[in-house]
């Protein structure tokens, strides 16, 4: 028999329709079918940096005036923020979401700023290190790839020796980039910090010149980072005359402080960074350089800013011009015969090919010709075991060559020839040399260490115990993911530059760096894409007061007892930090 429910009479009922019992038991969160969760995602700048630096994190710190802590964060991934803050082509900035909103953040200038502040305060980075290991690793070449690899390997506990062919360390950073772009003092400080970790070096030790891979048997692994130091020849008649030198040679001599006699009229052939650097260095030595480039400005591989600065300094560029012959007098180059070109159909790399205009020949009076039409590797010192194809060293996704225990990076492998890619390849090699020597499985490392989807890896994560690693979001936050109602247009701040009249007579630095005020203001333009910056919008907007304030500096807390899953917090989050997930039943 069913049980009868006793109903109250009218007189026994309250005058208001109100529950007679307390409703404290009723956690209204039980109505929810979607559950919000904080999930930090990948900011596009971090993903865009091949060196995998936590740019967003550093910008937050700079915005709070914590410049040195920002620098520490960069140093976790890259030993060269001072160098990169000056010479990196900053793909982070082209990835910056503000670029599609107003103007990208001046990340490169801010990187330089924090490095300058660290230098000013003689900061030593508090680096995380692992316990010492018995194995030793040899690094061939002390450019950005080699030194980065050594830096991380030492932190991973290995004994590392760097072999450098030249009498000085730094590779192309030292001998390829002129003082006015990268002061030797800045480079020297960052190299010293690497050496202080216990990296050994042997200079004047050129592979193939009394040193071979066989001599390195005591090392359980080798990292090859020889760099591209050989200049391509022009392939025109009269090229062997006096008064013709390569851009690489010229810059090396200038950078090593040798006296170089140029004369007045200097023709620089090429459109890459080496050509522009050589022309600007020649200008500073008192010459009047003229850049000859066979295509148009659009095809010039040099950084646009460098080309612009060269022109500011009064350097002439003759476009659609190719040299065809060197005319010598008394065995020394005196005239350069050139032709004019027009642009033909695109070639394999997509750039339009120059086509010679018949009969357009002309001659230019020259005292010196500098050829800078590209550099290549000199791999004659390497044995066949390493495997060489098209004058590059083929590697797998780890940077490992065919020969067991031999890894390679920098310009000699197939990747863009930039400082930051060299640094990235050095870090990658350090990680996989470690896993190789520990005989550990490496396949899962790409997923565990990735910073976004473009191949950058995080050394910070690698140095963490697996269980310490925060789960990685699979999403990189783009402009469409942001709630733009919360952002205002704000002009990008730029570094001041030395006056061009002063620049032409000295090798002093061209870019002058941010002051503190500008740096903080610029850093605060950051949207913090995908990373909670404790703005409290969720806390303010929650209509059910179901978000509680976290402890000072920590994330807010969802009160799932009372959250109804309405999603307003997610909608109002300016930076796409909150995700809604289907409630588990």
């Amino acid at each position: 028999m069913s049980k009868q429910i006793p109903l109250l009479r009218e007189g026994e009922m309250p005058y208001q329709p109100i529950s007679l019992g307390s409703m404290e038991w009723n956690k209204t969160g039980s109505w929810r079918y979607l559950r919000p969760r904080f999930e930090n995602k990948i900011p596009p700048c971090n993903e865009g940096c091949p060196a995998g630096q936590d740019i967003e994190g550093a910008l937050v710190l700079i915005g709070k005036g914590k410049y040195l802590e920002a620098w520490d964060l960069f140093k976790e991934e890259n030993p060269f923020p001072g160098v990169c803050g000056r010479v990196c082509y900053h793909p982070c900035e082209s990835s910056c979401n503000r670029g599609d909103f107003d103007e990208p953040l001046s990340i490169n200038a801010l990187e330089r700023f924090m490095a300058d502040m660290a230098s000013k305060h003689r900061r030593k980075p508090p680096l995380k290190k692992r316990e010492k290991r018995p194995e030793k690793v040899a690094v061939i070449g002390s450019g950005p790839a080699g030194l980065t690899c050594a830096y991380h390997l030492v932190r991973l506990g290995y004994g590392v020796t760097v072999f450098e062919a030249l009498p000085v360390l730094g590779g192309m950073l030292r001998v390829g980039i002129p003082e006015y772009r990268l002061p030797k003092k800045v480079l020297g400080q960052e190299i010293d910090q690497i050496l202080e970790l216990g990296v050994k070096v042997e200079v004047n030790a050129r592979l193939g010149n009394g040193l071979s891979l066989e001599d390195l048997k005591e090392y359980q692994a080798v990292f090859l980072a020889l760099g591209n130091h050989k200049s391509r020849s022009l392939g025109i008649s009269g090229e062997e005359a006096e008064g013709i030198m390569s851009g690489v040679e010229f810059l090396k001599d200038v950078n090593l402080g040798k006296k170089v006699e140029l004369g007045k009229r200097v023709a620089v052939i090429g459109g890459g960074n080496t050509a522009v650097d050589a022309a600007r260095a020649a200008l500073r030595l008192g010459a009047k350089p003229l850049i000859l480039y066979r295509r148009t400005r659009e095809e010039m591989p040099a950084f646009a800013s460098e080309v612009h600065e060269a022109e500011e300094e009064g350097i002439e560029i003759s476009l659609l011009t190719s040299p065809v012959k060197v005319i010598s007098q008394n065995g020394r180059a005196a005239q350069l015969e050139c032709v004019k070109n027009r642009l033909g159909p695109p070639d394999e790399d997509g750039r339009r090919r120059p086509v010679e205009i018949k009969g357009s020949n002309c001659t230019i009076e020259v005292d010196q010709v500098i050829s800078a039409i590209g550099e290549e590797a000199d791999l004659s010192c390497l044995s066949k075991q390493v495997g060489i194809r098209d004058n590059t060293v083929p590697t797998d996704e780890r940077g490992a060559t065919k020969q067991a225990g031999v890894f390679a990076g920098g310009d000699i492998i197939l990747q863009p020839h930039t400082v930051v890619h060299a640094i990235a390849s050095g870090k990658r090699a350090a990680i996989f040399i470690d896993s190789h020597l520990r005989k550990e499985n490496w396949e899962g490392l790409f997923e565990a260490l990735r910073v976004g989807e473009k191949g950058s890896l995080s050394m910070k994560r690698y140095l963490q115990e697996e269980r310490e690693r925060v789960p990685l979001s699979g999403k990189t936050v783009l402009l469409k993911d942001l709630n733009l109602d919360y952002f205002e247009y704000q002009k990008r701040l730029k570094m001041p530059k030395a006056k061009s009249s002063r620049r032409t007579t000295s090798f002093e630095e061209v870019n002058l760096g941010f002051n503190e005020e500008t740096a903080v203001e610029e850093a605060r333009r950051c949207f913090n894409c995908g990373v909670c910056n404790l703005c409290d919008n969720c806390y303010i907007f929650c209509p059910d007061v179901a978000i509680q304030k976290g402890k000072e500096g920590e994330l807010n807390i969802f009160d799932y007892d009372h959250c109804k899953g309405c999603g307003i917090c997610m909608e109002e989050c300016p930076r796409d930090v909150i995700v809604m997930e289907v409630e588990g039943r």
């Binding site: 109903l7 009479r9 005058y15 329709p17």
Partner: protein, 384 residues
């Protein structure tokens, strides 16, 4: 202290004297200056209330429901379309037994667009369970605000006091402002037993299943019926405190009358003049001013009109298909009585058109002439 003030400010000053604690309203002509004055009184501290601006009348009433449920004396004001927009929430306030007081400035409902006086807006809310009191003068407006809070808080039903657009709302008259201390004695603070309390959470206005809804409705009906006696007693108390009282239905020169006019609102004053003039001429005409509309004061009106031959009801409103709403109510209220005078129904002054002495004389003579009321309401002053 006497002050010259418009009817809308009389509302605002009444609210100040009542020490309302929350005011939430949305402006609409002709109500706007009530809210304006209240915001000034709140801003300069003469009224210590939280003034909550909202984006619509629906939100205004929802806001009032929340604050009243928290046990706080709450006021709002509106008119016409604004009142119509509140409709859903009006039922809610009654069902939740919240003693909210609202001033409604009578105004016609569109379309066509019209901002002038007409009683159709408040009468359309007849079935929402709100008490309704119609005022004749600015003094009565102020006094009725104080009375309304007292009535509402005793019977736990919301009260709507009604004043005519422009004729009262925007017309200045001398108003005697009660002493604040006396007003406090008349209207003590509102401290309900049941109110929102985060330390003792209950569901307010919870789900009532079929097993319980009828009982709640029955309680409202009982309270509404009892409220008539409460209205009478509060009016008595008010009279003792301030020397003015209004009654539920006010008889005017009804002694030995054979015809009694029934009016509500400011037209009553014009009717007083018409009655005086006809009495001079020896006509036995009287006037009953209907002040309370909900609950309907049937016994009081019946008592006043018992000896008369005819009742002529002036409706400044109309319900399509029925005609004058007051007349319809009176017929319905009297229909089970063994004998009552026949009810003549007249529609006048819609959309703010003046009801003149001439109109009133026409109504009175027509009522005398016709032996029986027309089936339908007669439209006075219609250009046909």
């Amino acid at each position: 202290m006497k002050k010259i003030m418009v009817g809308n400010h009389a509302v605002s000053w009444g609210v100040m004297l009542a020490r309302a604690e929350v005011v939430s309203a949305y402006p609409i002509t002709p109500q706007t200056t009530i809210v304006e004055e209240l915001s000034v009184l709140c801003a300069d501290g003469r009224l210590k209330a939280r003034f909550i601006p909202v984006e619509s009348e629906h939100s205004a009433m929802a806001c009032c429901i929340g604050s009243s449920a928290a046990g706080v004396r709450t006021f709002t004001a509106t008119s016409s379309q604004g009142l119509a927009l509140m409709h859903e929430m009006l039922h809610w306030a009654t069902g939740a037994r919240l003693p909210i007081v609202m001033a409604n400035v009578n105004r016609a409902l569109g379309s066509p667009f019209n901002i002038w006086g007409e009683q159709s807006d408040s009468l359309a809310q007849r079935d929402t369970g709100w008490l309704q009191i119609y005022c004749e003068s600015n003094q009565e407006v102020l006094d009725t605000v104080l009375q309304s809070f007292k009535i509402a808080e005793r019977v736990l039903l919301p009260v709507m006091l009604v004043l005519d657009a422009f004729i009262l709302s925007h017309t200045a008259e001398p108003v005697d402002i009660p002493d604040h201390q006396l007003a406090d004695e008349f209207l003590p603070p509102y401290r309900p037993d049941l109110r929102l309390n985060s330390k003792d959470p209950h569901i307010f206005a919870c789900l009532a299943p079929p097993e319980y809804l009828m009982e709640f409705r029955y309680k409202i009906q009982q309270s509404m019926l009892q409220s008539k006696e409460v209205c009478r007693r509060v009016d008595e108390e008010f009279g003792k405190a301030f020397g003015r009282k209004y009654g539920l239905v006010e008889p005017y020169r009804c002694e030995g009358a054979d015809l009694i006019l029934v009016t509500a609102g400011s037209v009553t004053s014009t009717a007083r003049v018409a009655v005086d003039a006809l009495r001079e001429k020896g006509r036995k005409v009287g006037l009953a001013k209907l002040r309370l509309f909900r609950p309907f004061p049937k016994e009081e009106l019946l008592e006043i009109t018992r000896g008369a031959d005819k009742i002529a009801v002036l409706d400044r409103n109309f319900s399509a298909g029925i005609g004058g709403i007051f007349a319809h109510e009176i017929r319905a209220a009297f229909c089970n009585e063994k004998s009552h005078p026949p009810v003549y129904s007249y529609i006048t002054g819609l959309g703010g058109r003046d009801t003149t002495l001439q109109n009133l004389n026409e109504v009175i003579y027509q009522t005398y002439e016709r032996p029986r009321p027309e089936e339908q309401s007669v439209w006075v002053g219609l250009r046909s």
